[in-house]
Point group: C2
Chain length 433, copies 2
């Protein structure tokens, strides 16, 4: 049954994902041969230091520091080094020498995606990147192929496992941000420099990739409005809980309503309130989940492990088998060229619901003053709750109807200046409704 054609596979990088990919390729070679129709020969593994200690033992003779001779001559190049350079150069070399590329490099795709996809188009090769977004969860291929006959209106989801782990710990165990972060660091959820996760850079890279694919346009990292979880406090999480919400770091990609000649999209990452009834509320720990709302298909959800070496290796190897099948079947790769050039709207143009928490002076007429500022600002309140805590701090929590971010921001600024408002404790967007 097996076509004895052999395809040479070059692996760049042997970190937590790369070493699992190598192990699975070596251990399950027969399975891959059966599934792809070709023997996959792991020709070599590019590493910085062949003698460095590794979690997974790899055959010493496969390790090399010579990128050029490994890449040229390979049929499939798997790039799992991360970072921009030298990954970018290696991928371009691979494409130009006729190889298909499989990568999990979200940072590279979110900044240099256009260049790489153009290079692939020119030679008729494919670039696959299922592992770049949401780890093991098949989301790229469903967007690219399964929903190719539909029109996507909105994608929103939890695409960063580390911050979800922290927010979940805070929500379920009442921990402070510092405590939850310390546990995440201990368990290896956070890197030594945790800002990539905490400030939402990682989620923003994934949002740019998802939006590019969903809307057939080019979205780069810089187009993404980004807020991280640095300012989310235990108090905010407790307040959210009392109101029936949970706080999640969400990536949102949506088409904005507008006339045909005014089409635009919004791509953003921020901590937002989600109803406890919403399926995303029960995404715990380091898991990821992505909602896709398509015009014909309706809402779809994809859920699973968002990270982890062996889990992400599954996504990489699915792409490798597809690339191998393409080599055997012949034909050119399906291009990634965006066919639309939709502007990314500034955050001020989005519309959503908001929850505003104000600390106010505890005196008569406060509510009337605040209500007046809201009316003047064109922001309509759906719920208003006034509380006084044990320390005598009076708070007003306002849940708004859908409002334009610009109007909301202006109104909050006016509230902050008002004599009756002592402090704007928090302003949170409400998503998933």
């Amino acid at each position: 049954m097996i076509d004895h054609r052999t395809l040479r596979v070059a692996l760049l990088g042997a970190g937590s994902v790369g070493s699992q990919v190598a192990r699975l390729l070596l251990e399950h070679g027969d399975d891959f041969a059966e599934r792809s129709g070709a023997s996959l020969e792991l020709a070599g593994i590019l590493v910085r230091d062949p003698d460095a200690p590794r979690d997974v033992e790899l055959p010493r003779e496969l390790l090399t520091t010579d990128a050029e001779s490994l890449i040229v001559g390979a049929d499939i190049v798997i790039e799992l080094m991360g970072g921009i350079e030298p990954a970018r150069t290696h991928i371009l070399t691979a494409l130009n020498s006729g190889a298909d590329v499989v990568t999990g490099n979200k940072a590279l795709l979110a900044t240099h995606g256009a260049e790489i996809f153009d290079a692939a188009d020119q030679v008729g090769a494919s670039v696959s990147y299922e592992a770049a977004v949401a780890g093991a969860i098949p989301i790229i291929r469903p967007l690219k192929d399964s929903l190719a006959g539909d029109r996507i209106a909105r994608i929103f989801g939890i695409v960063n496992g580390s911050t979800n782990f922290i927010l979940d710990k805070m929500d379920r165990e009442g921990l402070s941000a510092e405590e939850a972060q310390a546990i995440a660091t201990d368990l290896g959820y956070l890197e030594a420099d945790p800002t990539l996760d905490l400030e939402g850079h990682d989620a923003a890279q994934k949002a740019a990739i998802l939006a590019s694919l969903a809307f057939h346009t080019r979205v780069s990292m810089d187009d993404v409005h980004r807020e991280g979880i640095e300012n989310v406090t235990a108090d905010m999480i407790e307040g959210a809980r009392r109101a029936g919400f949970v706080i999640k770091l969400l990536a949102v990609c949506e088409r904005l309503a507008g006339s045909a000649d005014d089409e635009a999209i919004s791509v953003r990452v921020y901590p937002a309130l989600i109803s406890r009834e919403h399926p995303l509320a029960s995404v715990h720990g380091g898991n990821n989940a992505v909602f896709v709302e398509a015009e014909a298909a309706g809402p779809l959800m994809f859920y699973g492990a968002g990270a982890g070496g062996v889990q992400t290796a599954s996504a990489v190897l699915g792409d490798v088998v597809s690339a191998a099948r393409r080599h055997i079947a012949g034909g050119v790769g399906v291009g990634e060229s965006p066919r639309q050039s939709l502007p990314t709207a500034p955050i001020g143009r989005i519309m959503t619901r908001y929850q505003i928490t104000l600390e106010v002076s505890d005196e008569p007429g406060v509510l009337a003053t605040i209500a007046g500022i809201l009316v003047d600002g064109g922001v309509s309140a759906a719920t208003v709750e006034q509380t006084v805590d044990d320390e005598g701090t009076a708070r007003i929590v306002i849940g708004t109807h859908r409002a334009r971010e610009q109007a909301l921001g202006d109104t909050v600024a006016r509230l902050a200046e008002s004599a009756v408002v002592e402090r704007v404790a928090s302003v949170l967007r409400v998503e998933g409704e």
Copy 2:
């Protein structure tokens, strides 16, 4: 940007899905041209009666009763007639004349899949069938492509929307089976002959398709152990609720543990208990959700609309765009040939947990007698609860540890014969743990 090659598309059937596919192809022709790289020309629509009234108005000149001349000369044939014949003959004609086939025909694939996939392999054409399982939810392509580099251990899920609607109504509104079924019929969830859904035939067809794909083997409808929801009563649902469970009609496909030369799979459909904490418990109404447990990827869930004309049309059109891309790119289709021939084990070989509800005589020593029968049968009890209701009926509810179905069945038979047991009220399997 657009390659002006035109592909001829033949549509067989204009029911609820077919008419939506036709509408979307006609209305969004430009989108499809951009996405697939070719203009898709709807060459004709095969119908039984061109003058029959339809929900969606279709151009009269496209409607035809002449299958042969529509199919021969088409590049892509979309089969949405349902049933075995003449669908089978039309698909074979299409493949033999070089067309790619897209179908949503689960009954045909679950019975004649082998013949159809072999025919496609021989001519290098593709047969796609995303719409055959779980409506709009992308599940076929993720199994076939995204998880091609992984090894699937288990699939279980809710794949029949009608029965989920009925069970959900019974659970959430306390309705009887008859009441819930009447509402489902009124809302169009059930056909005039509802047995296809209620007795689990529809779910079993989908289970056969999923198992074939997941385990790279051939599973037909006849290999599937099937129990429907006909015997699920309001009492059983109420009992499940008290114990923290919900009853769902589940399709389960799993590899059975065993030595390498004793490999086997189990494919089954039955109403089972699921913990209320499990994500499947919150799949309401006519929705579907499928869990996939892969060795490397871990658990993944796919959720969305399980039926509906326009929703299912999304899945069909995704397949159409992929088939069109393949035509443009060249190369042969990825074959479906199973590479393993795994036996399907009889239901007696599976292992799971069970909940047994017995009506017993209310006298001393009953529990000891029952415990003795369980021990003799090799079935270990995890929980035992004894209750007496307002009418004086004494019940014992036993939750078992994992047991082999064969041993469980023998033990239940012995319980039924015991003098202290008046009636075996229900035996339910517990899944998702």
